[in-house]
């Protein structure tokens, strides 16, 4: 039975990482919840954000937290154009078509990254990366804490946007009732593209935060896509709080599973959880029943 402080450290670490995952999943939840498109290139987008952060760091010594601004702006434009230009006609098409479209996009993105950046892992090396705060028996990784804080701040900003601004409400209207929204005169195509752009911004910020914790290689993309989907399903589609909660839950459960069972099997746990949630409570923990 592992010692209490070991468990505490592992749980704290899981929560912090989970918050960053949660932000990434938030982007997916928003996209999936509103536009109803299965963004199978979500993880790849996250990976590109991570690469962008490393490139900016290599060229300008820009700290990833500062890099968040330009990367997010670029991603907003990219996401908007992707949705408006490529994905929009696919909304009414069958799922396997949507899926294949985004798989094709994902293949192009992953291999473009491989071409440009090569297969070696890339990272940023900032001074505080190897430092930790000592709080009694807890050793809290500095970079992880900062990343988590950034994730929470970004998520809060998104909540505020969707709840209090007119555009945010319009987007929620589209999600709830597509036909109604069009009747009322909302420019749905534009709002969808906006949503995708915003989802991409989430991914951009999460990516810049993640690059402090993890080295980036092209194959990261697909594993993050799966992770994002697991979190969104578990947390609840269309619920932003659910995405964060799901992220934390997955982060902690994987950490604990790694501690008590064998670490290499911890993903098995997440997939098992996914299966259970899909069967017993498909709307997720915080989602609304359709």
């Amino acid at each position: 039975m592992p010692a209490a402080d070991l468990v505490a450290n592992v749980v704290v670490s899981g929560i912090l990482t989970g918050l960053v995952y949660g932000l990434m999943a938030l982007g997916l939840s928003v996209i999936f919840g509103v536009v109803r498109v299965v963004n199978f290139a979500h993880g790849e987008m996250m990976t590109i954000a991570m690469y962008a952060a490393t490139a900016l760091f290599a060229a300008l010594k820009l700290d990833p937290f500062l890099a968040m601004l330009p990367v997010a702006a670029a991603f907003f434009v990219f996401g908007y154009l992707l949705q408006a230009g490529l994905i929009n006609p696919f909304i009414t098409r069958p799922e396997h078509s949507q899926f294949m479209l985004l798989v094709a996009v994902a293949i192009i993105l992953v291999n473009a990254m491989l071409m440009v950046f090569g297969p070696d892992a890339r990272n940023v090396q900032v001074d505080y990366q190897l430092e930790s705060f000592e709080l009694g028996p807890l050793l809290v990784d500095k970079a992880r804490l900062f990343a988590a804080i950034a994730a929470v701040v970004a998520a809060a900003a998104f909540f505020a946007f969707f709840r209090y601004t007119l555009t945010g409400k319009a987007i929620r209207a589209c999600a709830d009732n597509y036909l109604g929204a069009r009747i009322v005169g909302l420019n749905v195509k534009h709002l969808y593209a906006l949503t995708f752009g915003l989802g991409a911004v989430c991914v951009a910020i999460a990516g810049c935060a993640m690059v402090l914790l993890v080295d980036v290689t092209p194959p990261l993309g697909p594993s993050y896509t799966l992770l994002a989907f697991v979190i969104v399903i578990v947390g609840g589609l269309g619920s932003m709080g659910g995405a964060l909660l799901g992220g934390v839950l997955i982060g902690v459960s994987e950490a604990l599973a790694g501690l008590f069972i064998t670490p290499s099997a911890k993903s098995m746990f997440s997939f098992g959880l996914l299966i259970l949630v899909l069967l017993l409570r498909p709307q997720g923990l915080l989602g609304k029943r359709a």
């Binding site: 070991l6 592992v10 670490s13 297969p119 930790s132 080295d215 670490p263 290499s264 911890k266």
Partner: protein
């Protein structure tokens, strides 16, 4: 160049198709066509490219040494086993007389089957899975240690390390990557260690981790909690880097990090990424003898082709890839023909004493395996992988425990 022209010619010939089901072009050649299959892209990309450097310098050096003309036919199997199989087929179709490669055990197994089926000799440069030479193949040869050999040599070197530094660690935590290679090594260690009674330490915990995992904080926390004297590690490159960093974040500094035989800690990327943190990591791996004549020649050729690079970072990859091609060329010289059966027979009779790698002469047993390949204890000193044991090949003294060691 040659290959493109050859492809066009083959396309035309193919259209006029001879009723020759094998379509192997058996040129009565003065040149030996060597098909080099390596993973130059995909997750093994950087290692494949490293091996390729060894292949590229081989024709020049071998021409000087043996007077034999070689033509390399390079193929990239993209770190994918299926592609390895089809590329092997392709190379044979295009007239390769012998195949060399592939670094990865899964691909080696697939290519071995193709080679055996087509009766074309296949010389494996690097692959550790023992089963490959246990299948009764007649055309497959391996000039590398099996996982079992690596473990035995690695553990013996650990014993030597403790003797040389007069240390007596009692406990070790064993972490290993959970893939084909890591599993084979773990099995080997669990089988061999209990019988090595002269080794003073016991393994207090065994932690397997996912090779694709990006976050190893839980694993390191577990390892740290064991309070073991040192870390016994079987890893690959990326995870080695992650582990090292995580150890610093969690302020865990055991007596040292010792690998009984795995890639990663001696690779260039490890140094580039970790800087000073890479110091003192130890890998016991098959290595080249820095003092042998062959090494001097290869080093010179390497410097000429890669002026900004240092052979020492590619020692294992370049050394064994070069030797595999050397074996093929040496057999060609003795067989005086490119007929695959004759080549295979000649390879079976190989006895090369002037070589690059440590250990005894290159001689194949009846399973096609070379026995007696030596390992070296390679420690990262001054940002370079340095041979510290065995003493005959050493260029520095080992450092153990590491200077920052804190007994918790």
């Amino acid at each position: 160049m040659k290959r493109r022209q050859f492809n066009k010619a083959l396309a035309v010939a193919g259209a006029l198709a001879a009723v020759n089901p094998f379509a192997i072009v058996r040129a009565q050649a003065q040149k030996l066509r060597v098909g080099v299959i390596l993973p130059r892209s995909g997750y093994l990309g950087f290692i494949g490219q490293s091996c390729q450097k060894g292949a590229d310098l081989a024709p020049g050096v071998i021409k000087e040494l043996l007077g034999v003309e070689l033509e390399l036919m390079n193929a990239d199997f993209e770190s994918n086993v299926d592609t390895a199989r089809t590329r092997a087929e392709r190379l044979i179709q295009e007239g390769a007389h012998v195949l060399v490669g592939p670094f990865d055990s899964g691909a080696a197994s697939a290519i071995a089957q193709v080679a055996e089926q087509r009766g074309i000799p296949f010389v494996i440069n690097i692959a550790a899975a023992p089963q490959i030479t246990e299948q009764g193949y007649k055309f497959v040869f391996r000039n590398f240690q099996t996982a079992g050999d690596i473990v035995r040599n690695g553990l013996d070197l650990i014993g030597e390390l403790f003797q040389a530094t007069s240390t007596v660690p009692r406990t070790a935590v064993f972490m290993h990557v959970n893939d084909t290679f890591g599993q084979a090594m773990a099995k080997g260690i669990n089988a061999v260690l209990p019988r090595r009674t002269q080794l003073p330490f016991k393994i207090v915990d065994q932690i397997g981790y996912d090779p694709a995992a990006k976050d190893l904080s839980v694993e390191v926390s577990k390892a740290k909690a064991t309070n073991a004297d040192f870390l016994l590690l079987v890893c690959r490159l990326n995870d080695a880097i992650i582990l090292r960093r995580e150890m610093v974040k969690q302020r865990w500094q055991p007596m040292g990090i010792v690998s009984p035989g795995s890639p990663g800690m001696y690779e260039e990327q490890y140094f580039k990424t970790l800087g000073k943190l890479s110091e003192y990591s130890i890998s016991n791996v098959p290595w080249y003898n820095p003092k042998s004549n062959m090494t001097q020649r290869v080093e010179a050729a390497f410097k000429k082709a890669n002026p900004k690079d240092n052979l020492v970072f590619h020692g294992l990859n370049v050394g064994f890839t070069f030797e595999a091609i050397l074996i093929a060329a040496d057999a060609f010289k003795r067989a005086k023909s490119t007929d695959p059966k004759a080549l295979a027979e000649a390879i079976r009779q190989t006895n090369i004493t002037e070589k690059m790698s440590l250990g005894g002469p290159i001689k194949f047993n009846d399973k096609g395996q070379v026995e007696g390949i030596g390992s070296a204890c390679v420690q990262n000193l001054n940002l370079l992988p340095t041979v510290v044991l065995p003493q005959e090949a050493a260029t520095a003294k080992p450092v153990f425990p590491v200077p920052g060691y804190k007994k918790t």
